[in-house]
Symmetry: C2
Subunit: 190 residues, 2 copies
Amino acid sequence: MRDGARTRARIEEEALRLFAAQGIEATSIRDIATAVGVAEGALYRHFPSKDSLARTLFQNAYANLAGRVLAVAGEGMGVDDSVRRVVELFCALFDENRPLFSFLLISQHAFLSDVSRLPHRNVVEAVKSLFQEAIAKGEIPPQDPDEVAALALGIVAQPAIFALYGRLQGSMAGRASRLADAVMAAARSG
Amino acid sequence: MRDGARTRARIEEEALRLFAAQGIEATSIRDIATAVGVAEGALYRHFPSKDSLARTLFQNAYANLAGRVLAVAGEGMGVDDSVRRVVELFCALFDENRPLFSFLLISQHAFLSDVSRLPHRNVVEAVKSLFQEAIAKGEIPPQDPDEVAALALGIVAQPAIFALYGRLQGSMAGRASRLADAVMAAARSG
DNA sequence: TGTACATCAGTGAACGCGCGTTCACTGATGTAC
DNA sequence: TGTACATCAGTGAACGCGCGTTCACTGATGTAC
């Protein structure tokens, strides 16, 4: 025994997969324990409650994504290149881990209200800061940075949701260029 | 008594309000019955199950919205005017009934997979048909109609979600013109 | 119009079920001396 | 190195609770003749 870290990692992995596939409420502690191959009680050695498990998974995934967005955006290019690379990042991550994005997109409503507002922990703030810089530099017209962040996220998130439902086929990476163009066209129309 | 239709209408109204405010799973049959002012059993005179109640509410609201979109889009104007009026419609309906949109946006993931694909019952199909016509007429570049429908819906839905979370303040109607411009700019960039 | 019966809308206690969580326990591993 | 104890990770039966749903019932309204 004494392999707590490994078990914890497997709990997180299986929980994320099940939450993404069937939703948090529809996934029971027993479902997760069975998938991991441990007894129900074992989960409570690693997380104080089911809610805490779900919340931890969401916040970690969300903060991780925000950090990556900030890193790409902060490489000192023009806004066009920054947007292009952030959109490519979203699409690539989506393609390589659909369950993760499914979980983030579907359960955001339950957790977004108590997520940190720091740009390196919050995807919305990270995207917003990118556009604030572009406005300050005069690369796009002056406008409400929250509004243009919302537009931009919608342009990427809605096709991703359609992909999850099978309404859009193929990889998201194949759409990245088109979506980046759409984001910049929308941002310039303000 | 013999006022079944009235009671049914009140059940739908209160259920929608509670579902929107706290989610479907977190709302119990007892919550709804108490809000309406009847016993739990009374709900089963009007709906065979809780799931059926939620599903009926969603499909009716969704079909109603699709019908209105089609009506506005089918008035034989150019795509710019059609888009502008559809966006204005969304924003006006959002402002006048936030709980309804909250319910549609938050619970779409649970029901979208079994919604009708007819344009007059499905918002996505209605929006898609609008762009298909614009492509056929050469008003916007040739492109995947599902993709441009996704972009357009994202541009309107994401700000609406932000408004629900208090991240964007003020009415959606005040943003309609900006959002319509963004949709057309994005559609033309394809 | 009066009478007898059917139907409808609503009641509310009761049911069974699945859920999240607890807890006394086991045994392996770490630590102190 | 050996011994005694502490800690850690995991077990799985059991608990209580809230949920959706049922059902025998009541009484008002509609229908037939």
